[in-house]
Amino acid sequence: MTSLSPKNLPSADLAPAQLERGVSPWLDAWRRLRRNHLAVFGGVTLIILSLLCVIGPWFSPYGYQETNLANTFSPPSAAHWLGTDQLGRDLFTRLMFGGRISLMVGLVATFVALTIGVIYGAISGYVGGKIDRVMMRIVDILYALPFTIFVILLMVFFGRNIVLLFVAIGAVEWLTMARIVRSQIMSLKRMEFIEAARSLGLGTPRIIFRHMIPNILGPIIVYTTLTIPGVMLLEAFLSFLGLGVQPPMSSWGVLIKDGAERMEEYPCLLLFPGTVFSLTLFSLNFLGDGLRDALDVRAAKD
């Protein structure tokens, strides 16, 4: 607890002017987050990287498919900041374009996972009893399954289109979110304001979405932040196997794969995309950890 929370104040003999004003929990969390250097570093890095990827390509003098066979494997220079690849394409431009796809996959697939996880967990936790036991047993079993294998099969068999990629990844990554939401909902369920809502005759969906979900936004935000790196990893993993994003589109996973194939001639083709990708994962993890501490979310082990 920080000194900002009202109950730590010796209230009796303080003059009114000395009393600190009450602070909303969100502002409180924000202040705590700002003091965590690693989390701030992560957040700032993410903002810079996203801006670069979204806006950067417009200012780049090169197209991401623009080849120049007279200038292949060029080292970093003023014209090509990170050098060029085997076809003379500008690596910096390709990184920014690839980043758009990687970040977009990260966000959209996480959103899919978030939606499934929250709804599933909320129902399981709120309804309780036998249904809850069955639903959670299913999650336990799914946890133990070689789900990546099914994603691979889906991608191979049903064509490698990006919408399917979102759905497939989202369908795998919702399990942890469901568990966390469930345990939070279960502890909220017994609180008086929920009983009050129920005795007023509100319907279950309304109770869950208007009264309970807003109260567990903290854990949801934290685990969403921590899901994004997992999702991006899975996308890059699939792209590395040649199953994710297909050329001419590219993502960081595709660039890493291409770089690994050419690393003997020119290691930078592997090192730059690898560094950017790892840096993104670093930042997301640090930011997620920082948010967890700031929002005081207990590590949900069950």
């Binding site: 079993i141 946890y143 133990a144 399954l145 070689p146 789900f147 990546t148 294998i149 099914f150 691979i152 099969l153 191979v156 068999f157 049903f158 790196p229 990893l233 890059a236 993993f237 590395f240 196997l241 996973g253 890493i256 794969k257 770089g259 690994a260 690393m263 003997e264 290691p267 592997l270 090192l271 690898g274 990708f277 790892s278 994962l281 670093f282 993890n285 640090f286 590590a299 082990k301």
Partner: protein, 306 residues
């Protein structure tokens, strides 16, 4: 304990059944068959091929035949790509390399992860702790498909200590197992540190100290048992991750293992091989998870009553 194991074993039957059924029908309903790529297949040859594999039978009959063969004889059928080989032969041929890779990686993950985690917890907030913790964070954030090629570049191509690919001598096993193991070593280190820190603050540790037990006895005899709990529950997902992670590792290092074979078989639409491998992986993962669960109950008897 026996009842617990029996119940878990019974539970796996419907799970396996669902996996087999789902994969079977998924594989059958996909666009494009196993014989599409063959050049100039005449309808007669095609009909012969389909008869050979029993693909001309009605679907439900194919399904029951397959199920019967798998359950009664453990026979996974013939590969539709390599007509002369059975899936069982291919698996027997390719599985050992994958098991070695997975086993070594798990060993590396446990040894590195546990020692780093315990060390970090005991030397809390010292340089050693920061070093171990940053090792853990780095390991988590550098994916295998980045780390693997970099290790090859440095240790195989530039320094020439190892060969870049293959699976012949013991040196060939080091880089791939290390690459695959480090990610999970990092996860285990983080969990061990957290678990140990929690336990080291408990009353019974203070009691042990008060009784004059030596520091190493406290750590290894008293604290580790409780501190390991989060690690053990992490092992289930870690094992699944190592198995699927081997797909990429076997591709990078060109290891003749089942992981690479599985990805290829999916590309080739080798129906029976895909099915057989998925079943094998599912059995493997479920069995290993069962062991993990048993160990967990053994470490924490409270779980038995839940």
């Amino acid at each position: 304990m026996l009842r617990f194991i029996a119940r878990r074993l019974l539970e796996t039957i419907p799970v396996l059944f669902i996996i087999v059924t789902a994969t079977f029908f998924m594989v059958r309903f996909v666009p494009g068959g196993p014989f599409d790529s063959e050049k100039a297949t005449t309808p007669e040859i095609r009909a012969n091929l389909e008869a050979y594999y029993g693909l001309n039978l009605p679907l439900h009959q194919q399904y029951t035949n397959y199920l019967k063969a798998v359950v009664l004889d453990g026979d996974l059928g013939r590969s539709t790509k390599y007509a002369s080989r059975t899936v069982n032969e291919i698996i027997a041929d390719k599985l050992p390399a994958s098991l070695q890779l997975g086993g070594l990686s798990l060993l590396i993950a446990l040894v590195l992860g546990l020692s780093a985690g315990v060390l970090a917890a005991v030397k809390r907030n010292t340089k050693i702790d920061y070093l171990a913790s940053s090792f853990a964070m780095t390991g988590i954030c550098i994916p295998t498909f980045v780390l693997g090629p970099i290790l090859v570049l440095v240790f195989a191509i530039h320094l020439g200590w190892f060969s870049a690919s293959g699976w012949y001598s013991w040196q060939d096993r080091i880089l791939p197992s290390l690459t695959l193991g480090i990610v999970y070593a990092a996860g285990i280190a983080r969990l061990t540190r957290g678990g140990m820190l929690e336990v080291l603050n408990l009353d019974y540790i203070r009691t042990a100290r008060a009784k004059g037990a030596s520091e190493s006895r406290i750590i290894f005899k008293h604290a580790l048992r409780g501190g390991l709990l989060p690690v053990v529950s992490y092992l289930g997902p870690a094992i699944a991750g190592i198995l699927t992670g081997s797909f990429v590792i076997e591709t990078i290092f060109q290891i003749p293992g089942l992981g690479r074979e599985f990805v290829n078989s999916a590309f080739n639409r080798d129906y029976t091989l895909v099915l057989g491998t998925v079943i094998l992986y599912a059995v493997l993962i479920i069995a290993l998870n069962l062991i993990v669960d048993v160990v967990q109950v053994w470490l924490n008897p409270k779980l038995k009553f839940e």
